[in-house]
């Protein structure tokens, strides 16, 4: 090991650990090693690392582990971190959605200030398929039916005549004193009533509290929603979050049994290590390393830390995508992949144009 200070020491590559360096990230006691991708042509003698589409297609697999209405967990194996990260970044910032952009406040006598109210309205997710709309051109002020959704919020709070004299519960005393996102009504413009007849356009959730009112206060607001991307403002991001982690790998360097096995089991997350009964003694076996959170607790125990090798598989990504409800998570992933393809196409066209000149 040559020590290079804080830049990290490099492992000497010999026959036995070349595969390890190429494909595993090592979790050590004080640092993480072999993080970067090194399999570029020329780095390893005897390996042909030039890009080969057939080899990539042979090694690449995907597996959908968990899927429900809003959340999806899937695996991507055989791809590099640069591309997996590109997908993650696009899911967060470049898949378009519709969100409230312009708020026309005709009357706001509540105690919520105009700008705070407008900010809150912008963050409400709007259930409208953004693929059916276009971006608004930067010069235009008035929206047309192809790029704008119009919503109205008109609530007036009044005293409940049927409330009993000595109650103090606002639920009973006042009518319409809580303004929820369910009160936002869609006002179709142009031919939207025909085109979106069965899609009920409006907020995804009906129970988001926007403001509270007292008798005599009212809100009279018209909102215009436009198409945008998360890069511009976070309200346009279609995911609650999208993240990935690498598959952990735990290797036991020698058989661990008895009381040490019990302690080893407690060092990892539940379900990772299972104690088998062999010849009357309990032997530790790694059953499901995917469940581990890689806390490296085992490296804090002096008698256990040399018996275990912790690492992560560098090209196995466990993605978790949680949608805000605008689009189902599988649609978001396909849209993100298409966005990256569009980016490449844009520069390919530009290269062709400059070549022709």
């Amino acid at each position: 090991l040559r020590r290079r200070g804080r830049r990290g020491s490099k492992m000497a590559a010999n026959m036995s650990n070349v595969e390890d360096i190429r494909s595993r990230v090592l979790l050590g006691e004080f640092g993480v090693k072999n993080v970067h991708t090194t399999d570029f042509p020329g780095n390893y003698p005897g390996y042909d690392d030039t890009w080969d589409m057939q080899r990539f297609q042979k090694n690449f697999t995907m597996d959908i582990v968990d899927l429900d209405e809003n959340c999806m967990e899937f695996d991507m194996v055989g791809i590099d971190a640069a591309i997996a990260n590109a997908f993650r970044r696009i899911l967060l910032a470049e898949v378009p959605t519709m969100a409230v952009e312009k708020v026309f406040i005709y009357n706001n006598t509540s105690i919520i200030q105009d700008e705070v109210l407008a900010h809150r309205l912008g963050l409400i997710p709007i259930k409208a398929d953004p693929r059916l709309f276009e971006y608004r051109n930067s010069g235009e002020d008035a929206g047309s039916e192809i790029d704008t959704i119009q919503l109205q919020l008109k609530v007036k709070c009044s005293r409940n005549p049927r409330a009993s004299k000595d109650s103090s519960d606002p639920q009973e005393l006042y009518l319409n004193h809580m303004v929820y996102s369910g009160d936002m009504k869609w006002m179709p413009i142009g031919n939207q009533a025909d085109v979106f007849a069965d899609a009920n356009i409006g907020p995804v959730h009906d129970d988001i509290l926007i403001a509270q009112l007292r008798p005599g206060q009212e809100l009279d607001i018209i909102m215009h929603c436009v198409k945008g991307i998360g890069k511009d403002h976070a309200k346009f991001s279609p995911v609650a979050t999208a993240s990935y982690r690498l598959l952990p790998e735990i290797t036991l360097l020698e058989p661990i049994e008895g009381e040490k096995a019990e302690r080893l089991k407690r060092c990892f997350s539940r379900g990772v290590i299972h104690l088998e009964e062999l010849n009357g003694k309990k032997v530790a076996m790694v059953v499901n390393s995917r469940l581990d959170t890689c806390s490296r607790e085992v490296l804090r125990h002096d008698d256990l830390k040399n018996l275990v090798k912790l690492g992560r598989v560098r090209d196995h990504f466990i993605f978790t995508v949680e949608s805000t409800g605008v689009l189902p998570p599988e649609v978001l992933v396909t849209e993100a992949i298409k966005v990256l393809m569009t980016k490449c196409q844009r520069f390919l066209n530009e290269l062709d144009n400059t070549d022709m000149e």
Partner: protein, 109 residues
């Protein structure tokens, strides 16, 4: 989204006087690490490329300087074009695999 009226540059090429066609810095506008890092990986996988790197000149400006140096006198636009095509093909393959897997899961439920 696209500028109308005046034409905004999308891709520029900067080359030092006297350098051959193999050493070029491309300026990609309206891009960041998303395309920069993934394209850098694809171009580095090309055996003809001697150097490939990208940098973001200033975080307030959304453009990247993408530099390619080739060996053997190959013009630098070739590895760039190949990298873009390869990245596009990777995305297409990922998309197909995902859709197959999703239909498989959907039908088996």
């Amino acid at each position: 989204m696209a500028g109308e009226g005046e034409k905004k540059p999308v891709l520029e090429m900067v080359q030092a006087d006297g350098a051959d066609e193999g050493c070029v810095t491309f300026v990609l506008h309206d891009e960041d690490h998303t395309l920069g890092n993934s394209l850098r990986y694809m171009v580095m996988k090309n055996a003809d490329v001697e150097f490939c790197g990208y940098s973001i000149t200033h975080p307030s400006e959304s453009k990247i300087n993408f530099r390619i140096q080739t060996r053997g006198g190959i013009p630098a636009t070739e590895p760039l074009r190949k990298g873009l095509n390869d990245l596009s093909d990777v995305c297409q393959h990922v998309l197909n695999t995902f859709q197959v897997r999703f239909c498989f899961r959907f039908n088996s439920n």
